[in-house]
């Protein structure tokens, strides 16, 4: 028997303390009485008067204390055991889109699988393996295991997906795990170039072969703003040739699987071209693909959603004829906007909720409108937008050209407002146009989100501008931009990159409905909402996804659009880590120490129980 913490013996003097406590307890209060006569025959308190040395309670406590000290010394019984220290192998498998590249008759991923399976077969007694897949995020597939059939099944079941790769993050995870292993090694199977010097226990296997012939669609943009009809919508496809020789492809486009266009495109080595697709006659799924196939198929097609035509309803609360006239000009110029004009006296709280946008001219209601709203030249006395003053004659001096409201407006310096309000920005409303009058500059227009609704406040009166005149064109464009920005459906994005989450806000009335996702491969997945949002992360395949909620369907598409994945050549080399030291199994003989702590604690507990029983028995005897 041995002890691991001899320093705990320093607690032994506590036994002396126990003795002192007993001695102290034996110092009864002494009462001198003139005679024993009245006390004769009275029962002596045997419990308290028991002599010290024969007190069983003391001995029980002393033994318990000594056992506790013994416990603190961490006693053990030594024994020898032998075994084998196995290898602990971590396999990092690249499952990104580029691993689908065909090298001869097999894909790079199949080659990686073959290498990994070799490692599985080489596992000996005591060896274990853990698989980590690597795409946009690393993912640990299993616990460290030595079960070869299970490992084989796991490796054979892996598939590459249509996403980009994140080698650095995956390598960090692998190396971090490796740091916790005594006899570990990390094997990385990828087609990405090895990043610098690696540790000696990391084997880097680059599976990029001779295949370089790849043409990819690297972008698909559809311009479909609200003022354009379907026939006016255009799509732009970006094509790039990553091979070292010229390529000729036939680019075809489809709307809901109906052909739209077919073009022959010739691309020089490393050349990129943008192709326009016109004559999109309706809404639906736009698919663009080219033939013939090349080494990597996943980037040979791209998808986009052509939104359904939707009329925007706008409530105009104004009684200024000039302003109303300007609004009607805008309405008549577009087909997708419907304006309803009422005077301020007719406005009732809650009315704005029925419209997509509300425009208030020289009027701010008592209750905040429950929709996206534009306030034009609000009165000084209003509940929501503090106005510090006004200036007669103010020039536009500065503006935020990054603001979507000022899109396509490069220069506004020539604009001049007849009357300008000094608006006051706050945490919600930021200034996007500054003006200057006779003294200091001031915010002339602010925008932001208030109570969940988008808001724009203009400190000048649009009615002062004749929007038909060329010089006032910037004001008209700004108004249209404002309406587009306020459009509640304008911000919806139905196009993501593979692997990115697709987020949908749920409306209250949709709670409780079963939500399913139909993937491009035809698989139906049940989706659980996270709060009032749907976060769909199963977007690893490029193509069109259909989200079904109740009777509604929402379409969105996922595209690879990753130049690094499509550029399958790189500086590939099959050379692994030069200094890689292959881990080997070894036998060991170690001294095991069987701790006695639990038995000692059990003995102490029994002692304390015995003491308690003894104490109770004595106390009862003393009373009776």
């Amino acid at each position: 028997m041995g002890i691991l913490s001899p320093l705990a013996l320093a607690y032994l003097p506590l036994a002396g303390l126990l003795v002192l406590i007993y001695l102290f307890r034996k110092k009864h209060k002494t009462i001198f009485v003139p005679s024993f006569i009245p006390w004769k025959g009275l029962r002596q308190d045997t419990l308290r008067s028991r002599s010290f040395l024969s007190d069983a309670l003391f001995f029980l406590q002393l033994i318990a204390l000594l056992l506790l000290v013994f416990f603190l010394t961490r006693p053990y019984l030594p024994s020898l055991s032998s075994g084998i220290i196995g290898r602990e192998i971590i396999v990092l498998m690249d499952t990104s889109a580029s691993m689908q590249t065909r090298e001869g008759g097999r894909t790079r991923f199949e080659l990686a699988q073959e290498e990994a399976l070799k490692l599985v077969d080489e596992l000996g007694i005591g060896d274990t393996m853990q698989i980590i897949t690597m795409h946009r995020r690393p993912h640990i597939e299993n616990e460290m295991s030595g079960n070869k059939p299970e490992l084989r099944k796991l490796v054979e079941g892996l598939k590459p997906i249509d996403t980009s790769s994140n080698l650095n993050e995956a390598l960090s995870l692998g190396v971090s795990l490796l740091g916790h292993l005594d006899n570990g090694a990390l094997h990385v199977f990828t087609d990405v170039e090895r990043p610098g010097q690696m540790d000696s226990d990391v084997r880097f296997v680059n599976l990029a072969g001779s295949s370089r012939d790849n043409v990819a669609i690297t972008g698909l943009d559809v311009y479909q703003d609200m003022f354009k009809e379907y026939r006016e919508r255009e799509a732009y496809v970006s094509l790039e040739n990553f091979s070292d020789r010229p390529s000729t492809v036939i680019l075809k486009s489809y709307l809901d699987e109906k052909p739209i266009t077919e073009q022959i495109i010739e691309l020089n080595p490393r050349e990129e071209k943008t192709i326009r697709i016109q004559d999109i006659k309706g809404s639906g799924l736009l698919k663009v693909e080219f033939t013939p196939d090349d080494a990597l198929s996943v980037d040979n097609a791209a998808y986009a959603i052509i939104r359904h035509k939707k009329t925007l309803t706008v409530l105009v609360v104004a009684d200024e004829p000039l302003f109303v006239e300007e609004m009607k000009k805008i309405e008549s110029a577009t087909e997708l906007m419907k304006f309803s004009v009422i005077p301020p006296v007719s406005y009732r709280p809650g009315m704005a909720k029925e419209y997509d946008i509300a425009i208030f001219h020289q009027y701010v209601p008592q209750e905040y409108p429950d929709t996206n709203a534009l306030f034009v030249f609000p009165p000084k006395e209003n509940r929501f937008f503090p106005i510090r003053g006004w200036t007669r004659g103010a020039s536009f001096i500065d503006w935020d050209s990054e603001n979507p409201i000022l899109r396509h407006l490069d220069y506004m310096g020539e604009l001049w407002a007849y009357k300008a309000l000094h608006l006051e920005p706050n945490e919600d409303l930021k200034a996007f146009i500054m003006a200057v009058g006779t003294e200091e500059d001031f915010p002339l227009a602010v925008s932001g989100v208030v109570k969940g609704n988008r808001v724009v406040v203009l400190g000048f009166d649009v009615a002062d501008f004749n929007l038909s005149k060329a010089k006032n064109m910037p004001i008209l464009i700004m108004l249209l931009n404002i309406i587009q920005w306020l459009d509640p459906h304008g911000a919806e994005n139905y196009q993501i990159r593979t692997g990115e989450p697709f987020i949908v806000d749920l409306e209250d009335e949709q709670e409780g409905d079963e939500i399913t996702l139909l993937t491009p491969e035809g698989e139906t997945v049940k989706i659980d909402p996270a709060g009032n949002q749907l976060v769909i992360t199963e977007t690893h395949q490029s193509g069109a996804y259909v989200l079904k909620r109740g009777g509604d369907e929402t379409w969105f598409v996922a595209n690879l659009f990753d130049v690094e994945e499509s550029d399958i050549g790189g500086t590939s080399s099959r050379q692994g880590q030069i200094d890689f030291k292959r881990a080997v199994a070894s036998t060991y003989i170690e001294e095991k120490k069987k701790g006695l702590g639990r038995y000692i604690l059990a003995a102490v507990a029994l002692l304390l129980l015995a003491e308690w029983i003894l104490y109770c028995m004595r106390a009862r005897t003393a009373v009776t």
Binding site: I31, V33, P34, F36, I37, W39, R48, S49
Partner: protein, 305 residues
């Protein structure tokens, strides 16, 4: 100064009292006189007694002999000197419980009785009931001389003030020695003690006095703490200050009850013993004013009149 202990008014009232004597006393000494039922020479007739050889035949009532055919002699009360023996217990038990101040109280009783005796022109002696020596041998009797004059009280006071209590009371041994040293000096013996000795011991001791025909008066001095020691006692070790016996106790209702019962039994036995043998007895609680004890209790119990 005596006035340090007693008020002048109290002293004047003591001067009006006399030691009450119920027994015949033998005395030869002149001093304060008491008319006692002794075959005395006073003119006050006492009683008839059978003639014993040696009696002065001059007192034979020949008329009665003629009628009764029996020799009877007339006895007359004799005015004899009264000796007052104030015996003060000076054992260690008189100092405990300390809060009771039994010894101080006892000293006051002794002085008061001595003052009463002296003011009545009795011969008064105060003695300390001391213990055996450490070797077990008898200690000499510590006592004052007999005083007849009132100024003797100061010597008596000095005497009692000089006593330091100690040891275990040995009443029987002391009284044996005391009677031997005071042979022929009968009178009234007043024993002031807590009588915390076994009944057999004090009975044997007092019986010696009884056989010598002393007038015996017993003052048992106890304090409130001794009568009820449980106010500040929950548990502890009891030590007999004289015998050094020890006992660990935990105060319970049963223990209290037992204590009260045994103490009461002890006191009642002493009281009953005194009553049966026509001895004055009183329990002097130290929480009673000394003046009340002397002026009210003592006359009522036959100590003084």
């Amino acid at each position: 100064m005596l006035r340090d202990i007693f008020r002048p008014g109290f002293l004047r009232r003591l001067e009006c009292l006399k030691i009450d004597v119920k027994r015949v006393h033998l005395s030869t000494r002149k001093g304060g006189y008491e008319a006692v039922n002794k075959k005395g020479t006073s003119l006050e007739f006492a009683e008839y007694q059978e003639y014993n050889p040696g009696d002065d035949f001059r007192y034979i009532d020949w008329n009665l002999y003629g009628r009764l055919d029996k020799l009877l002699v007339k006895t007359f009360k004799e005015e004899v000197e009264l000796s007052v023996h104030v015996l003060l217990d000076v054992s260690l038990s008189m100092l405990y419980p300390e809060v009771d101040k039994k010894f101080e109280y006892s000293k006051k009783i002794a002085l008061a009785l001595a003052y009463i005796g002296l003011s009545s022109q009795n011969s008064v002696r105060v003695a300390a009931i001391n213990s055996l020596s450490q070797e077990g041998a008898a200690n000499p009797v510590i006592q004052t001389q007999f005083f007849q004059r009132l100024n003797g009280i100061f010597r008596i006071k000095d005497f009692v003030d000089g006593i330091k209590p100690g040891g275990e009371a040995d009443i029987k041994g002391f009284l044996s020695r005391y009677i031997y040293e005071n042979r022929g000096r009968g009178g009234s013996v007043m024993i002031i003690s807590d009588f915390m000795v076994p009944p057999l011991a004090y009975k044997k001791a007092i019986d010696i006095l009884r056989f010598k025909n002393y007038d015996i008066k017993i003052v048992q001095v106890l304090g409130a703490e001794e009568l009820d020691p449980f106010k500040n006692l929950k548990s502890g070790e009891i030590v007999d200050v004289e015998t050094r016996q020890r006992k660990v106790v935990r105060v319970t209702g049963a223990l209290k009850k037992g204590y009260y019962k045994r103490l009461n039994q002890h006191n009642m036995e002493l009281r009953d013993y005194c009553r049966m043998n026509r001895m004055a007895y009183t329990l002097a609680r130290t929480d009673i004013e000394i003046e009340d004890l002397i002026l009210k209790e003592f006359p009522r119990m036959g100590f003084v009149r």
